[in-house]
């Protein structure tokens, strides 16, 4: 597979997941602000922006004053404004741009579902959708794209790159959901986080109705069976890297990205939960940095064709 195409597929996986998860995180917080009058809007919005990677400079450039930021401004930056690179509108546009560059490799249904997801953005129909319906719409579109990929793509290298991108992004974004939830001071914020992940019922069944913040964090972070948990996503990413590398070795792992992700997963699993939840936002930031480093390693190995050659010693 062409390196350029592999890169596009990896990013399609990431973008679709990112749009999905951004919608879930926004859903939690808009709901919290509505339901709980005790929540400090400015503080919540500030935390939200910083967790989603919007720096104070970016906010200032977009005309948002962090000392008086409102939820409407947050929605503009993270959902509607195509100029803001973290917005759902910009993410869908980027996914579509990647798909356009890899169009001959994508299945026809796959291309069409990505293209029709993007079309409401330039036409203005997307902006007309308001919360909470807009979040539902985004989740449904993402599910449609993921389902179409699952139903129509052959399980070749391209598929592995989509799965890899999706799971790295999911680990990253679930960690952001955990961080924002931990920072929030509203009552029942963990219930909302669970609901946003579609995990509430599964959580209640698993923990037999005992609802504590600690248990909820554990479920979203460490549950091995729940598909949106950080551990589940890291496991899947490792599997995909394994399938791509295809190099069975008796000792250790040769692939840099594999090493980074495996080490992070082991650390999360083997550390005491108390330590982890004691400083959840910082722990989660560390996880996000690992995901970024793993992405760099994947780019170097698979997407930069010239470097791969030098490394393998072919040609020249």
């Amino acid at each position: 597979m062409l390196s350029r195409i592999a890169e596009s597929l990896f990013w399609i996986g990431r973008y679709i997941e990112r749009a999905d998860d951004t919608a879930r995180i926004l859903d939690v917080h808009t709901q919290l602000l509505l339901e709980d009058a005790g929540v400090d809007e400015t503080q919540t919005c500030r935390d939200l922006l910083s967790c989603m990677g919007i720096e104070p400079d970016d906010a200032a450039k977009a005309g948002v004053d962090l000392d008086a930021v409102t939820i409407d401004q947050v929605l503009r930056l993270l959902a509607y404004d195509p100029q803001s690179s973290c917005s759902i509108a910009a993410i869908f546009a980027a996914a579509r741009e990647s798909a356009r560059g890899a169009r001959e490799t994508l299945t026809v249904p796959m291309w069409e579902v990505i293209n029709t997801t993007w079309r409401p953005i330039p036409s203005g129909h997307f902006e007309a959708l308001r919360p909470p319906y807009v979040f539902q719409w985004v989740r449904e579109r993402a599910a449609l794209i993921t389902g179409t990929a699952d139903a129509t793509m052959t399980r070749d290298e391209g598929w592995q790159f989509i799965v890899l991108g999706r799971n790295i992004e999911r680990a990253d974004m679930t960690s952001r959901l955990l961080a924002t939830t931990a920072l929030s001071n509203g009552a029942g914020q963990w219930t909302s986080a669970l609901r946003a992940s579609g995990a509430y019922d599964a959580f209640l069944r698993t923990y037999r109705g005992i609802e504590t913040d600690r248990a909820a964090a554990e479920f979203l972070l460490l549950d091995r069976l729940f598909p949106r948990s950080v551990i589940f996503a890291l496991n899947r990413a490792e599997q995909a890297l394994d399938n791509l590398g295809g190099d069975p070795r008796r000792a250790g792992f040769q692939d840099e990205a594999h090493r980074l992700i495996g080490r992070m997963r082991a650390e999360l699993e083997y550390r005491a939960l108390t330590d982890l939840v004691a400083d959840l936002p910082d722990e989660m930031e560390r996880l996000q940095r690992t995901c970024a480093a793993a992405t760099d390693a994947i780019s170097r190995r698979y997407f930069a064709g010239a470097e791969a050659v030098a490394w393998k010693g072919v040609g020249v």
Binding site: M1, L2, S3, R4, I5, A6, E97, R100, G101, R103, E104, T105, V108, W111, E112, N115, T116, R119, E157, L244, Y302, F303, G305, A306, A308, V309, K312, V314, G315, V316
Partner: protein, 508 residues
Amino acid sequence: MFEGYGTGGPAYDEMFDGAQLRPPYLRMRDSLDKMSTPELITRVEALQASYLDQGITFDIGGEERAMPLDILPRVIEMDTWTVIEKGLQQRVQALEMLLADVYDAGNVFNDGVLPRKVITTSSHFHRQAATIRPANGVRVHVSGIDLIRDNNGEFRVLEDNVRVPSGVSYVMTSRRAISAALPETIAQHRIRPVASYPQRLLAALRAAAPAGVADPTVVVLTPGVYNGAYFEHTLLARTMGVELVEGRDLVCRRGEVMMQTTKGLAPVHVIYRRVDDEFLDPVHFRADSMLGCPGLIDAARAGNVTLANAVGNGVADDKLVYTYMPDVIRYYLNEEPVIRNVDTWRCGEPEALEEVLDRLDELVLKPVDGSGGKGIVIGPRATKAELDELRGKVIEDPRSWIAQPVVQLSTVPTFVDGELGPRHVDLRPFAVNDGNRVWVLPGGLTRVALGKGELIVNSSRGGGTKDTWVLAGPTSPGQQQQQQQQTQAVEPPVEAAADLPITDREVS
């Protein structure tokens, strides 16, 4: 539906002869007459929405637009098509011989058929291509020779396109879209299918592989997503099942071309390139080009890779060379041209120039190396200032201009702004040469000028397309009995790559 359809004017209308319906359109009229205008409008809207959803678009200045497809197909009779097919095969053969000759021995110059300076002064003549001998002798793997129908209904060649002719994707997608939009109408007709084009093209590309390569790797080379025809490049790569590469995906090493994959470098043998000559190889052409790959020309010269179409083909597209084509056909094939040229004055010849300058306001002036309708001046529609400017340009550089009488392109009923009206069309049939046989795609791209009375059909100038139906049987029932004994036009299977499945399956 067709009441109040006014043809008028000198142009040949393909559906109506005055008030009289022409026979090929009988079935279409009958089936459309049952439909109300509002229903047709509903179908037109569904058609446009489906094109946007599928992303069937072209780019103008970075803006993506849906290709306008008119709902009414254009019908071409079987017998008419047989002549077109023969004419195109003849012309492609002559063009192949001409290109092989001008880049090598040059007999056509020595025998006084074509002045050498006509070729060497062409802006598309590339010395870099001299003496490169393609593996199976083919330089014009794909051609899109533009035809028009004059006031008497006779098909004529308007220009030759043997560099990187585009538009074939719209032929395939429009057939699909129209069968969804007009299922009842299409069921009334027997139409030659168009869906086998990618297999034909792939077979021709494989047949052109360098000697000794048993299972060649074919790729399509695109300038990238911002190219106007990017949609077409993706469709062709996908339906042929080959990689679509950009220049940055390719590397040349020791005269061989390779592409960068996730598993290292993989060899490439045949490049169906959709990048113009000038941008193909910064070593030999424009040094600032980022679209090509340094070393391609040398690899082609070394015989390690085949470029399709060949470099340097542009001389045959030169509109001054076009004027010599009837003689060129007679010279190489010893035959009369099956399809005639449009009458043309060469401004480079003093007597012709004098006449052209006298009649500037009644002729069409075309730059010899233009494409996409660029630079064309239609005398009767130009202002005095435009004509004066043109006069200056022609006097300064007469070699670069030809003149033609204003040919009224034929008209076909077209649905614009809620009503039917006659609109001018041309036809670009596509021919694929695999070295054994020139295969012509039945139909081709009908481009239609959507503005009333407008004569320039290019999509970059507001043109649309029409599905083009070549009938598979005789037109009227009477003829049917008469011709029952005759064998039907059955295509021989692809010879060059018999292992490839040739099916007329739907292309999506």
